[in-house]
């Protein structure tokens, strides 16, 4: 106990950010608040609906043309006429409103890789995005959460959103991850442990001395999948690695929040990263997690390496490390999608594309594409894919009778070579 009021309990990191943005001294779990927004995001699927709702509200301008980002990334480069019409519709809106951060093909990226890279999100921000994986920016120590199109419209009009203050589950990470264990394996392990609704309506707060062994790309990948446990947000302690990333990418002012010593958590898990094994989520839920040694013989038809979960430079390097000097199995299509133009160029400059092409993989321009069964790698009936994406629901990547297995870039690349789900150690 530190304060004079013995009844006042400490706040979690999320609660402190929300309190500040609601102009309140303190907030409690369950409290309904209106919070000021630092960034409002939409994509080519959700923004068209948001624009229609925005028109109904009847405002002639957005709250701040610098604090809205519109990223056409799901069906782009436009896969058909209807998709093209949707993108034209939102582009016209962006131009009319003077929205600064509209990202056209050739300058874009998968939204949740793009916004941090462009320095548009920094520690302490409150961000809403009409895309469920908006929770990704929790890796930077921001409160960010997915909402729908109507909330996006209201956010664009008012610069505010209503929230029920969440309680939090604390994940204390200790130790150092072993070989071939990445942020993706850790988050699949956690979702396997708590289930797809294990953190429903709650924050997942990641802390502990194990963080020092997790790169920013690992953390983005973990925060990204907080939604797959039903969470409102996932958030990491801010450390020197975070600040280094922010200094390199952004000139925006930021604020570092830290959970109170006496913050109240509804549950706590201590996870020794040294015990986490490479993990694969079987169809049709991200919680159907099995360690790589429990996978058995699963023959595959396709591998996808990319997405807002695992399309960053370290993911490209990890795939290249496995594919170098090897060949993609004759029965497998391996599709590699760097998540942004910058990552694409970096991968090219580092010679990773030579490795991919020589191995017999295809490299695509940035797009969400196959992750949600949009384009660039749709599965036929009965086909199986190993993907570094985030969801393996029925029909997610194509035919309702196709299957998606979620894994890290290293496992995905090894599987592409083996023609079945495999660890790099088996090659």
């Amino acid at each position: 106990m530190t304060g004079t009021d013995t009844k006042a309990r400490g706040m979690t990191m999320t609660q402190k950010i929300l309190a500040d943005h609601a102009g309140l001294e303190r907030v409690e779990a369950g409290q309904l608040i209106k919070a000021r927004l630092d960034m409002v995001l939409g994509n080519d699927i959700t923004t068209p609906v948001a624009v229609k709702e925005f028109r109904k509200i009847g405002r002639d301008r957005v709250f701040d043309k610098n604090k809205i980002a519109i990223v056409p990334d799901h069906f782009t480069p436009n896969k058909d006429i209807k998709s093209a019409e949707q993108v034209r519709f939102i582009k016209e809106f962006a131009r009319e409103m003077g929205i600064v951060n509209f990202f056209e093909i050739g300058r874009m990226g998968v939204e949740h890789a793009l916004l941090p890279e462009k320095g548009l999100v920094v520690p302490g921000d409150v961000v809403i995005g009409a895309d469920s994986h908006t929770c990704t920016y929790g890796a930077l120590g921001a409160f960010s959460t997915g909402i729908g199109s109507t909330d996006m419209a209201a956010g664009m009009a008012t610069g505010e959103a209503w929230f029920k203050v969440p309680e939090a589950i604390r994940f204390v990470l200790t130790g150092k991850p072993g070989k071939w264990v990445s942020g993706k394996d850790i988050i699949l392990h956690i979702i396997g442990m708590i289930g797809v609704d294990g953190a429903l309506y709650k924050s997942m707060e990641f802390t502990g001395d194990g963080l020092e062994h997790l790169s920013m790309d690992d953390r983005f990948s973990m925060a990204n999948m907080a939604i797959e446990a039903g969470a409102k947000n996932g958030i990491f302690d801010v450390d020197e690695k975070t600040l280094e990333y922010v200094r390199e990418h952004s000139t925006k002012p930021y604020k570092v929040y830290k959970a109170d010593e006496d913050a109240v958590y509804c549950r706590e898990y201590v996870i020794d990263l040294n015990t986490v094994k490479p993990t694969v989520a079987f169809p049709h839920l991200p919680s159907n997690a099995r360690t790589i040694d429990q996978v058995g013989e699963i023959k595959i038809d396709q591998v996808v390496i990319g997405s807002c979960t695992n399309g960053r430079i370290e993911d490209m390097r990890s795939a290249a490390q496995v594919l170098k000097g090897r060949a993609v199995h004759p029965d497998v299509r391996c599709i590699i999608i760097p998540a942004t133009q910058k990552i694409w160029k970096q991968a090219m400059d580092e010679g990773l594309f030579d490795i991919f092409i020589e191995a017999g993989a295809a490299v695509s321009t940035p797009t969400c594409g196959p992750c949600l069964g949009g384009h660039m790698g749709i599965l036929a009936k009965g086909e199986r894919a190993v993907a570094t994406t985030n969801r393996n629901f029925v029909g997610r990547m194509g035919h309702p009778e196709s299957e998606v297995y979620l894994a890290s870039p290293a496992i995905a690349a090894a599987s592409a070579v083996a023609g079945r789900i495999a660890s790099p150690d088996e090659l």
């Binding site: 309904l32 699927i45 959700t46 068209p48 609906v49 229609k52 709702e53 109904k56 509200i57 009847g58 799901h74 069906f75 896969k79 058909d80 209807k82 998709s83 949707q86 995005g129 009409a130 895309d131 469920s132 908006t134 997915g146 909402i147 729908g148 199109s149 109507t150 909330d151 419209a153 209201a154 009009a157 008012t158 209503w162 029920k164 797809v196 609704d197 429903l200 309506y201 939604i227 039903g230 409102k232 839920l285 949600l372 069964g373 949009g374 969801r391 629901f393 029925v394 029909g395 997610r396 309702p400």
Partner: protein, 162 residues
């Protein structure tokens, strides 16, 4: 306000990819979306559903994507209410924001069977199963959300506030 309808029953974790598969998200037209509602879970849904029908489901209904097209498709199908043990949070917000009535009631969601005739009273939270002759009580909405519901969604609520 009260609604009454035949129940179409589903299990746990009905995700937004089966409610409206992404291959149909190149439009936001409610009628077009309704034509493919539930297609990857229950291909007969669009042909079978009648105006006023009620969906009852298990835990975490609407998990996955933030696509508002999911509650829009359900609403445009003529569904008058979704009863579930729990809802995924983005779906919950979206449903309230667009004016699709939803109620959280683990007891009702467990007991109600496919084909039961059920009445939901949104003012009292009372759910009556006319087929089984049983009643249940829904978790009430916080006052603030009731105001959004009364304004028929978030847009109406903001307009009312000026």
């Amino acid at each position: 306000m009260k609604v009454q309808g035949n129940v179409i029953k589903y299990g746990d974790n009905v995700d937004t990819d089966v409610i409206i598969p992404a291959r149909y998200l190149n439009t936001s037209d409610p009628k077009e979306l309704a034509a493919h509602c539930m297609e990857d879970l229950d291909p007969g849904f669009a042909g079978r559903v009648k105006a006023g029908d009620i969906i009852a489901a298990g835990t975490n209904f609407g998990c996955g994507s933030s696509r508002e097209h999911a509650p829009i498709a359900i609403k445009a199908s003529g569904i008058s209410c979704v009863i579930a043990k729990t809802f995924a949070r983005i779906f919950y917000r979206n449903a309230i924001n667009i004016g699709l009535p939803i109620v959280e009631c683990p007891e009702a969601a467990e007991d109600i069977s496919d084909g039961d005739v059920v009445e939901v009273d949104f003012d009292t939270g009372a759910i009556t199963n006319k087929t089984k002759g049983r009643s249940y009580k829904a978790v009430p909405f916080p006052e603030f959300m009731q105001e959004i519901i009364k304004a028929e969604g978030l847009v109406g609520y903001i307009r009312n506030q000026g």
